[in-house]
Symmetry: C2
Subunit: 229 residues, 2 copies
């Protein structure tokens, strides 16, 4: 146990990757997937950069964190890079995910078949009012009470919890998830979750994406809504 811990913290140190790089990897991955679907076999970092609004040197720097994948003058092998980034993203693993909060967002996630291709298996759904969902199944999973989470976590390995409760309810549940051994919380509640170092919290703020759109409409196009009317 002690040995394992030491090995782990050493690994973490060696692998320090800036959060901004990690947030760009899924975008590279998606872009490369689209290129593959379009039959593109090779792409230069210059072309990739043009298509992705990132400088070519940024792309090279980002990929160098993982050992680099291009050959000078030959560009990137699209399929190969797609596979390598997929591996870095952890797509070669299987994840068990529970959904905590069966509201609109929670059930949208439960029904999002695309996640299966990412190795995500929905293993449980929990809600404050499970009786509302009596007799219904979402991808073969029934909705159970929040109070059943601790027992569920004792019996089942759960890697990720999508936390889709309103923040006041989420506050009480986050420690239960962490205490029960969940290693990643995909946090849609607007609550700030404190967690030990080995538990990753990924906050989702849909409003940030809308603000970004508003900013681009306003500032980039230089027109206010009133001017457009």
């Amino acid at each position: 146990m002690g040995e394992q811990k030491e090995a782990k913290s050493k690994g973490t140190k060696d692998r320090e990757i800036p959060p901004a790089v990690i947030s760009r990897l899924p975008k590279y991955y998606r872009k490369l997937g689209t290129l593959m679907d379009g039959g593109v076999e090779r792409i230069s970092s210059a072309d990739l950069s043009r298509q992705m609004n990132v400088t070519a040197s940024q792309i090279r720097q980002d990929l160098n964190h993982f050992g680099g994948f291009g050959q000078q003058g030959y560009g990137y092998n699209v399929e190969n890079l797609h596979m390598e980034i997929g591996r870095i993203l952890g797509l070669d693993h299987e994840y068990s995910m529970i959904i905590v909060g069966a509201g609109r967002i929670g059930l949208a996630i439960a029904n999002y078949t695309r996640f299966e291709n990412m190795g995500i298996r929905i293993s449980g759904i929990f809600d404050r009012t499970p009786e509302k969902f009596a007799g219904r199944e979402y991808r073969g999973v029934t909705v159970n009470a929040l109070a059943e989470i601790p027992a569920f976590l004792r019996k089942n390995r759960v890697d990720i919890a999508a936390l889709t409760l309103p923040s006041e309810a989420a506050a009480g549940i986050a420690p239960v998830l962490i205490g029960g051994g969940v290693h990643g919380i995909w946090n849609f509640s607007h609550m700030q979750i404190s967690a030990p170092e080995n538990v990753m919290i990924q906050d989702v703020h849909l409003s940030e994406s809308l603000l970004e759109l508003m900013c681009r409409m306003n500032y980039v196009s230089g027109e206010s809504p009133e001017q457009r009317s």
Copy 2:
């Protein structure tokens, strides 16, 4: 008309802001709001940087695009900076938004009261099967047929359309929205939308956020799910 066009394209040139900067502004805005709620009046770029996982020089560079807001050695006035960034984001305007697709995500957006504080007013909801929603209202708005969108856009100013249809249905609707004068599309469909320069498309890929979480769980913590079990 010709004059207006020239003025506009000139404005766009002068104001060229890198997309990465624009995507960080909502995060600054949210952070500053949290600091204000906590009674913080001033913050140095070093402290802000620590709390936001962005380097202090990055913060200064980002804000310099808009004229900078700090005084050397005094840090930032939190309330003032919050207000200024809000203005850049366009929060001093009112936006009319329609929701195209009354699925789980579409209705979650319709019911998201937080958007009202951002100056967003839901003016219409449209779906392929409006009869499913007969007699129901979402924040005072009924659900109408997709075929009614062109007439609605002729009668009402609509700034933003949240496109929450599946991609096959979204493909046919995007040109209708753009042709009808919508200036921003908040695109939840997984379709790539081509639009003229003055129409902004903001793609939302929830799976990217989940991939980022998986990457951090895997690569940063250095443990695969199998090792944790």
